[in-house]
Symmetry: C2
Subunit: 342 residues, 2 copies
DNA sequence: TTGTAGGCGTTATCAA
DNA sequence: TTGATAACGCCTACAA
């Protein structure tokens, strides 16, 4: 347990006071040039480095932020994390990671743990299960700012960056209509999810904007399990008059749908076309892929959220500073068209 | 900037000393039951929570470990991270993440930064570019233990968990031979990579163990770029006598190979079979997939590495403890056979 | 059973 | 230009 050198050590060697050393190390103008040089020389010799824990303690800051997100196995979130890392590096911050794995209790534990570690701020993308936000509200007491991204609470007075699916979906449905599609179905998620209500609403409005009527029989839902996905798509292809195109809750659901469709002897993009959400990088290598994906800009969302978080943190450090207006930014999604002719 | 309650505050309220409070809060036996109760009651009332930064500072520990890995967009590493997180949670530790993105300089910066933050230990899976290890050796000075996993340095006196590709490759090649394959090619990586030399050596020995001779014309290499991948596979299928099976450097290379093979009008798993490394979860959904993957147990490797790291950390905290023997554990890989009849 | 005092490493304030 | 000292929050050896 040999201790690392401290300014005290340097002070002793040079027979000066610790305050002189402290100042000399940071080139404080009040310290004479000779002294400064001597101090810095010795510091280098004995391999002195400032003990950040001491500073953190003194400044009541840890120079680390927490990131809570569902799962890094989703390319969307690993891209998002890269955005956070980049912003953190630019601000000299560390990133503490926590995967909630879509588990509400785990999310709570992670947040609690980050709070205990006194992170200076937290970025969050919610679990699918999350519908109460006490564990985040609680952070106010500790002056830990929170910025949400992508999966954000349905709640006022929060900071967030999210993505407006309407723009992308409208582009997609318009494209489908221009290609002659008239019956465009929807495979939605479980009713309890906010994302589900959102998808339905946007779907309805996009149909309307294209002068199509909403038909209940081509709207089905899945519980996001493989079985649920298969059941949903089978319901659609079993219809007397199946939809010729389907908007699918997300890419993972779509993978199962494509398998089912092919097993049923149908051809993707000719018998039935798909549009989905997420933009898996792997589509590039698949034989059957959606006509289009709705790009939601993971990196952009997360880095924007991170940058605002740092603004909040830095602003709080200024004594008399006025509070920043909340960030409530919504990025427009965009349709990404794939070459369906592979 | 309203400060959080401290033990001092509690002490003042109850007219006892801070040491009494400190002890009472941790149920120290020397403190009377009444006092203990009174202290804990007030603590609860004013919402006291211990300031970990102060403890960290005092104990010269941060209760966080760093994880440096190439890229979380690879499912292998995101699985590995989950292993680390689970081990960290069990040990009441935080995980600071750093993606090196296969960039040596970035790896160095991350390690430097983690050192500055005085993490209690570091887990590393190296960049493909990394061939010098000074930035890790340097950590000894700060008593920061390092454990490597999967992509480990070629060096003695380090702690690591890695995966022995031989076992899996032998299973795969034996399987291929049992299916009648006699010409089994290899698409290897760039020469400068340790993994490349390793693949070649294992490939050679597995052929030998199956009484096959090494044929240079069916050994090609790629620089891992898309163009390189395509060039490599084209070289093989352009041969007068093409191999009927090919061992491929990794799944990402294989994706390009499969595309090329299909474009050339060949059928995967009948005209040509593949075996690859990584075990992408997505294969399940692909039309053309390798005959088998070599499973390398990301979660198992990383959690084993993490657990040992915590042992090191805890051991170092015991004053007179003898140093632990280094961990140099090698897990056997395993062939995972896919149902090629989809 | 409880209190006092010192220390962890650094910086800021005030004094010299 | 430099030094002494207090403070950050907590713990602990020693004293009472």
């Amino acid at each position: 347990m040999n201790k690392l050198p401290t300014i005290k050590e340097i002070a002793k060697r040079l027979n000066v006071s610790v305050s002189t050393v402290s100042r000399a190390l940071r080139d404080h103008p009040s310290i004479g040039l000779v002294t400064t040089m001597r101090v810095q020389k010795v510091a280098k010799e004995i391999g002195y480095e400032v003990n950040r824990s001491a500073i953190h303690f003194k400044e009541r800051k840890t120079y680390s932020i927490g990131v809570v997100l569902p799962s890094l196995s989703e390319p969307f979130f690993s891209a998002a994390l890269t955005g956070v890392e980049d912003a953190a590096e630019a601000n000299n911050y560390n990133v503490i990671i926590g995967q909630s794995l879509e588990n509400f209790e785990r999310e709570k534990r992670i947040v609690e743990n980050m709070k205990d570690h006194r992170v200076d701020g937290i970025l969050v993308s919610l679990t699918k299960e999350t519908s109460t936000y006490d564990h985040f509200d609680n952070l106010k007491k500790y002056n830990i700012p929170v910025v949400f991204f992508d999966r954000v609470p349905n709640k006022r007075d929060i900071n967030f960056v999210s993505c407006n699916l309407h723009s992308g979906m409208l582009q997609a449905i318009s494209k489908l209509v221009s290609m002659g599609h008239k019956r465009i179905g929807l495979i939605n998620g479980p009713a309890k999810l906010a994302a589900t209500r959102q998808r339905l609403q946007i779907y309805a409005s996009c149909l309307k904007e294209n002068q199509l009527v909403l038909e209940q029989d081509i709207i089905v839902s899945t519980d996001l399990s493989k079985a649920g996905n298969l059941k949903a798509i089978h319901k659609l292809i079993a219809l007397d008059e199946s939809p010729t195109a389907v908007i699918v809750f997300n890419d993972y659901v779509l993978l199962d749908c494509i398998a089912a469709v092919k097993a049923a002897g149908l051809k993707v993009n000719s018998d039935i076309s798909f549009v989905s959400f997420a933009n898996l990088p792997i589509w590039e290598y698949m034989d059957s892929l959606p006509l289009a994906s709705i790009e939601q800009f993971a990196y952009r969302q997360s880095s924007m959220a991170a940058e605002f978080l740092f603004k909040l943190i830095n602003n709080a450090a200024i004594p008399g500073a006025t509070e920043l207006p909340p960030l409530q930014h919504i990025i427009d999604s965009e349709m990404v068209l794939y070459h369906s002719a592979k």
